[in-house]
């Protein structure tokens, strides 16, 4: 699988998920075919798009082709962490699954 989104378990929302076109971001820390699915976090002023979530382990931003929702599972290839998307204070964040 190319997209880091491993499974869509998220949400009871019936609205279809937004789809995103992923451009290259200059991220070069994974093999070329996976690079557009990640980008470097730009610090505290960086705002995440609906298809993005920050890896709490290595601080890389993980990007999916589709909008993310609470309950989705994603994979962070740069640090090999498996993550679950959860909602915290109205924002989507990732929680590590051990």
């Amino acid at each position: 699988m190319n997209d880091p989104l491993e499974s869509q378990r998220g949400g009871t929302e019936k609205r279809p998920r937004q789809v995103f076109e992923l451009d290259e971001t200059g991220f070069n820390e994974v093999p070329p075919r996976y690079r557009r699915f990640y980008r470097r976090w730009k610090g505290t002023a960086d705002s995440l798009a609906p298809n993005e979530v920050k890896c709490p382990v290595c601080k890389v931003v993980i990007r999916s082709r589709v909008e993310l929702r609470a309950g989705d599972r994603v994979y962070c290839m740069p640090c090999m962490s498996r993550l679950e998307v959860i909602e915290e204070n109205g924002e989507l964040v990732a929680k590590v699954l051990y």
Binding site: E29, P78, C79
Partner: protein
């Protein structure tokens, strides 16, 4: 075996690292990049860079000894393979930071004497605590000490150094970007592998937490000595910027412009960032952060 390692392979390490972000680099930077003349020509600034690079070499020598030492105590083949790649990463870090000492004017025959002269004694004690666990073949404590405490500290230190050098020294900033990419894998292995092992061996928690407290104590002392020793060089760098001898630049780290604050404030930002990260990472894997204060 931990599930997270099932997607890991040495082939992927080859594609990500030597064939990825290290491609076309020489000692971790672009072949045409050089240390800036304004720093090389200034004895105070050059000595300060030598002093800080010596700490990087010492820290990486410790990481090399620890990661290679942990291979034989790793309980599964996937962890052994990962630690083999980490050993090569750490060996590369020792080499690139040693090369930087040469680029700063240290002669190869003076390398060990230079390291002895400038090595922060608290960093040496920090390394001793970790290597004692590795020597005892204590895999759980060794990985927490190496991949969470040491690598967690290195991750934040490298990010701060990169922020302060991005505009003033692209060569060193590029070198650091490769080491930061390596650290992502190392902290990822530490958290994921230990997160699973601590759940299996909860009786190890107290001993591992004690080691974290001791290492954190030596780390904070290391920061204090390092920042106190760099105050004069930081003032000189600010003076150069004000006089126009070097361009006025910003170095933003954790929302703070480091080029505009005192060394005490820089130390506070780094220490609180690293300790905050320790607390968060340790809590995630089921360990309680022990304050050294």
């Amino acid at each position: 075996m931990a599930d997270f390692l099932s997607n890991y392979s040495i082939q992927r390490w080859l594609e990500s690292c030597p064939q990825g972000y290290l491609e076309d680099t020489v000692y971790g930077h672009r072949p045409d990049d050089h240390e800036p003349e304004s720093m090389l020509d200034n004895d105070l600034l050059r000595e300060s860079e030598i002093r800080s690079t010596v700490q990087l070499v010492a820290g990486e020598r410790c990481a090399l000894a620890a990661s290679s030492g942990l291979i034989n105590s790793a309980p599964d083949q996937a962890s052994k393979a990962f630690l083999a790649t980490q050993t090569l990463d750490e060996g590369r870090h020792v080499e690139i930071f040693t090369q930087r000492l040469y680029d700063l004017g240290v002669k190869p025959q003076d390398l060990e004497a230079t390291i002895t002269t400038y090595l922060n004694p608290h960093l040496a004690k920090f390394a001793e605590v970790l290597l004692e666990k590795v020597d005892k073949k204590d895999f759980v404590a060794g990985v927490v000490g190496q991949n969470i405490v040491l690598e967690g500290m290195a991750f934040s230190v490298f990010e701060m150094l990169q922020a302060t050098h991005t505009e003033t020294n692209p060569k060193f900033a590029h070198t650091l970007s490769g080491t930061i990419a390596d650290e992502r894998r190392h902290v990822g292995f530490g958290e994921n592998r230990i997160g699973e092992l601590i759940r299996r061996y909860p009786e190890r928690k107290a001993d591992v937490e004690r080691m974290q407290r001791d290492m954190s104590k030596h780390m904070l002392a290391t920061f204090h000595v390092a920042f106190s020793g760099s105050a004069a060089a930081n003032e000189e760098a600010k003076r150069q910027m004000e006089s126009g001898a070097r361009p006025k630049t910003k170095a933003v780290y954790q929302g703070v412009d480091l080029s505009a604050v005192s060394t005490e404030e820089m130390e506070k930002v780094l220490a609180s960032t690293v300790l905050g990260e320790f607390k968060t990472r340790l809590a995630r894997i089921g360990l309680e952060y022990q304050s050294p204060l």
